[in-house]
């Protein structure tokens, strides 16, 4: 079982790496914004499997933090940093 789960971790990690290559290549910023989301799913899957394989229950807590903070990073990507907020406007097309 351990061997199987370790192999699964390796495969998901490889998928994560390939996905990152494709996302970070762009061409637009919107593509790159998906990076945190990709890590938020694939990275958490790796962590949960790793926690089971190595018998570290606290890995689940790291996954929990990653779930919250990958969201936070994604939102920061969308807002492109705190200082640019006023010029960017959050959603000019939506309400007015």
């Amino acid at each position: 079982m351990t061997e199987f789960l370790t192999a699964a971790v390796g495969l998901i990690l490889a998928m994560l790496g390939l996905g990152l290559v494709s996302i970070l290549r762009g061409p637009t910023d919107a593509d790159r914004m998906m990076a945190a989301q990709l890590i938020g799913t694939a990275g958490i899957a790796v962590l949960l499997l790793l926690g089971t394989v190595t018998g570290v229950p606290a890995a689940v807590d790291v996954a929990l933090i990653l779930a919250l903070l990958a969201t936070f990073a994604s939102i920061a990507f969308v807002k492109k940093g705190l200082s640019r907020l006023e010029t960017d406007g959050a959603d000019p097309g939506e309400d007015r």
């Binding site: 079982m1 199987f4 789960l5 699964a8 495969l11 998901i12 998928m15 994560l16 390939l18 996905g19 494709s22 996302i23 061409p27 637009t28 910023d29 919107a30 593509d31 914004m33 998906m34 989301q37 990709l38 938020g40 799913t41 694939a42 958490i44 899957a45 949960l48 499997l49 089971t52 229950p57 689940v60 996954a63 929990l64 779930a67 919250l68 990958a70 969201t71 994604s74 939102i75 969308v78 959603d91 000019p92 097309g93 939506e94």
Partner: protein, 97 residues
């Protein structure tokens, strides 16, 4: 009993790996930003869901299982809202057409 558990784990985790694979293939093959976003947000969320399902029999008890499920719920909520924000950015910058 143990065999049944292991079968669930193998099946769940394999399905999870398959969906991560499909998601990455989609990221590589789909033509524009918004279609790639579909691949990422749908396939990877389901992949994580199946990994969680597969790990449930290996956890120590009910609470650990619920903890895994609640992590998946957090990811689903985050993925569903963040993908809308990214989609809006992509549509406004006109790359989705």
């Amino acid at each position: 009993m143990n065999v049944a558990r292991d079968i669930i784990t193998v099946a769940g985790v394999s399905a999870g790996v398959f969906f991560f694979f499909a998601g990455t293939v989609g990221l590589l093959r789909f033509p524009d930003t918004l279609t790639r976003l579909h691949a990422l947000s749908k396939a990877d969320n389901l992949g994580l869901g199946f990994v969680v399902l597969g790990l449930l029999p290996q956890t120590g008890g009910l609470r650990d299982g619920l903890k895994l499920i609640s992590i998946w719920m957090f990811v689903l909520l985050a993925g569903a809202t963040v993908s809308q924000l990214i989609a809006r950015t992509a549509r406004q910058s006109g790359s989705g057409k």
